[in-house]
């Protein structure tokens, strides 16, 4: 990370640039890594879009959001409600630890928190039980309990849970990539060697090894 001070004719400005060189030697700036990481968590690919890494942004959005939406579809049925595999519940008898993974996908999983808060306050869930926690108690009546959801959705309940949880976990890798750039596997040592002369030659050239 380099700090470039301007001359006295202009106010002193600190320019901090973090980034890395890609496979073709092009400089890729990470802009503000914290903002990028937050945006990447909020919506898969948004952090990379903010950094101008368009191809990866689209790839992450399609893959991760696609997995998440497909998992929600598997856990949906008109009479049971939609996206019943994504819900936040930490009540005795229904500790939904899957949600800790699912929330990694960011905004798409956050309606579950709204529904959970409504249920805790004794209010009815919104939007046809979309991401609402199942009712505790016996299996008779509506809304459905967890055991009835598992019975009715059969293995699609587990498949949907798995898809959405994996989508959330994959997005954590994406957040890390937005924050510090990719982890180049083979030639990271060679890349560092190439980057060093650039740093020594000029103060204005940002340091290239921050993400390694």
């Amino acid at each position: 990370m380099k700090t470039v001070s301007q001359t006295k004719s202009r106010p002193t400005v600190s320019v901090e640039q973090r980034g890395f060189t890609d496979e073709y030697g092009n400089w890729v700036a990470l802009k503000d890594p914290w903002t990028a990481a937050f945006l990447a968590w909020l919506l898969p690919g948004l952090g990379h879009w903010y950094q101008g890494r368009w191809a990866k942004a689209i790839l992450f959005f399609v893959c991760i959001t696609g997995l998440f939406v497909y998992g929600c579809y598997l856990g949906s049925r008109r009479d049971l409600g939609y996206a019943r595999v994504v819900y936040a519940s930490f009540r005795p008898g229904d500790m939904r630890l899957y949600y800790l993974c699912q929330v990694g996908v960011g905004l798409p999983a956050l309606p579950a928190l709204v529904q959970s808060a409504r249920v805790r306050q004794g209010k009815a869930p919104l939007w046809n039980y979309f991401m609402a926690p199942p009712r505790l108690g016996t299996d008779d009546g509506d809304p459905p309990t967890l055991s009835r959801l598992c019975y009715e959705l059969h293995s699609y309940f587990d498949l949907g849970s798995l898809y959405t949880a994996i989508a959330g976990l994959l997005n954590l890798l994406v957040v890390f990539d937005a924050f510090s750039g990719p982890i180049f596997p083979e030639d990271s040592a060679r890349r560092e060697e190439k980057a060093e002369p650039r740093n020594e030659s000029s103060d204005a050239v940002p340091e290239t090894t921050a993400k390694q």
Binding site: E23, A55, F60, G66, V174, F176
Partner: protein, 75 residues
Amino acid sequence: MAFSEDISNPLLMTTMATNYLWYFIPLLIAVSLVYAATRQETMPFILRHAVRTGMWIIIFMGIIAVILQVLDAFT
């Protein structure tokens, strides 16, 4: 999404288990691409890395499947 109620038929159960493998494909593609994209920056390198990762996952899971089949045959 309808499942047969008859789960006592072993042949039917085997067919159902095989059908579940289709759900592995979207996961394989997404995991390979995302993992590769966190290791590379440009698309040609990402795709190459994703193919390698996908093959590695298939081979690894194939080995596990063979081990389970062998264990099943001897138990």
